[in-house]
Subunit: 254 residues, 2 copies
């Protein structure tokens, strides 16, 4: 009988120990260097989105696992959904005129359509940018829509806004495929797709996009909103009445 | 013997089961509505810092637990440290002149010194702003320094910059106590503390701080950097060569 009691005690201790190991694992998950890198990634990502970290060339390599989790685990899309909700609230308060000049500007890459599949092959931005590789990817015309932004796009058009897509993509080499890619992903009914022509070759994004917006304002458009994944989409001149920054922890465009 | 074997099997099953329950709990932690609110808080906080959510009056109540964790659990300070590291890198590249006109602008509340203890009593911003309560708190002169910003402050002065503190605090009622509070927390050697005078009463923060910076630029100061916890510190005119946004998920100043 004593042996049985002893066995029971040993058993209970082992069960308790097993739980303890397990809860230690749980604890560990938040205190291990791995959590350190998760905390670092959170700080870094926040600083990127608040425009505190600029002109960065690569995602810090200790962030690889976390940037993958962020982009593919649901939080990236949730972040965009909250922004789109904010935009929807803002739109509610605008009286759209019948003169056809109430405009919104949307960036294309990683605002309307996603290059995530390409960046998966570049270790989510932990590898340096590869221009020819990116062009080869873009030429496939297979960038999927970013669902909350597609819904925003449709909502803007339904509300009577003129949606003008402005992209740094080169018109000569990527014009056709970009139109087809947008079309295949449901981006139908936009007012204009403005791509980079030779005239703007070599210009930084802020200068190029400011010049484009200036022409639009001169045409009479009222830019109510401007949505992009890069701060260079949202800075410079004629940025619009409100700007909205879509998260992008994969790359930085100056 | 068979009974012993059976016992052993039962024991092993129970141990395995115990682990399974435990790992389910772990899984649950990331899929339960509680994680939903954690994910929501992450999205909301990101959108606040990227200036996508504006003119908000209170922290959404489902964020209470998370904003407390964020502010008191280490991530808030880590976020500021990364920003201060970025500033340090930027400072390295500046040649400070001997004319005494290379300036930095720092905001005071929740940039240099913290109101976290006050906001703890306001459910970390989930309660509406209480003007008289805040004044009573500020009059105690007990705001602690935010350690990474104090180190930045000292570094700026060592590097030869003129540090100019610009705050929306009312000079007549809070002038003396603010000077004493800053002094007691180690903010020694700044060039000037500019507080709101009657002249700027009722003006929004962007207008007031732009006007102050304009006067500084007219005096000949070169504003190399501008650090604040509110976008209204960093927008408007003469914002400086670079701006840095310190996180603040507790309140919004228009």
């Amino acid at each position: 009988m004593a042996a049985r009691v002893l066995e029971l005690i040993v058993f209970l201790i082992l069960v308790a120990f097993s739980r303890k190991i397990c809860s230690r694992k749980f604890f560990w998950a938040f205190n291990h260097p791995a959590y350190g890198s998760a905390g670092y990634f959170l700080s870094w990502r926040l600083a990127v989105e608040a425009n505190n970290v600029r002109a960065w060339r690569m995602v810090p390599s200790q962030c690889l696992r976390h940037v993958e989790d962020y982009m593919t685990g649901g939080q990236y899309e949730r972040d965009i959904e909250l922004i789109v909700d904010q935009i929807a609230e803002y739109i509610e308060g605008i009286n759209v005129s019948e003169d056809g000049l109430d405009a919104w500007i949307l960036d294309v890459d990683d605002t309307c359509i996603s290059n995530l599949f390409y960046y998966r092959g570049r270790r989510y931005g932990c590898d340096p940018f590869d221009g020819p590789g990116f062009v080869a990817w873009a030429l496939r015309g297979e960038c999927p829509a970013i669902p909350p932004v597609l819904r925003l796009f449709q909502r803007l058009i339904e509300a009577g806004f003129k949606v003008i897509l402005v992209t740094g993509r080169d018109k000569a080499s990527l014009g056709e495929v970009t139109i087809a890619n947008l079309q295949s992903q449901g981006f139908d009914g936009y007012e204009r797709l403005i791509m980079r022509t030779r005239e703007y070759g070599g210009k930084g994004a802020v200068a190029y996009k400011s010049a484009v917006r200036k022409l639009l304002v001169e045409e009479g458009y009222r830019i109510w909103g401007n949505v992009g994944d890069q701060w260079s989409d949202l800075q410079g001149e004629f940025v619009g009445n409100r700007t909205f920054k879509i998260p992008n922890p994969l790359y930085f465009v100056s």
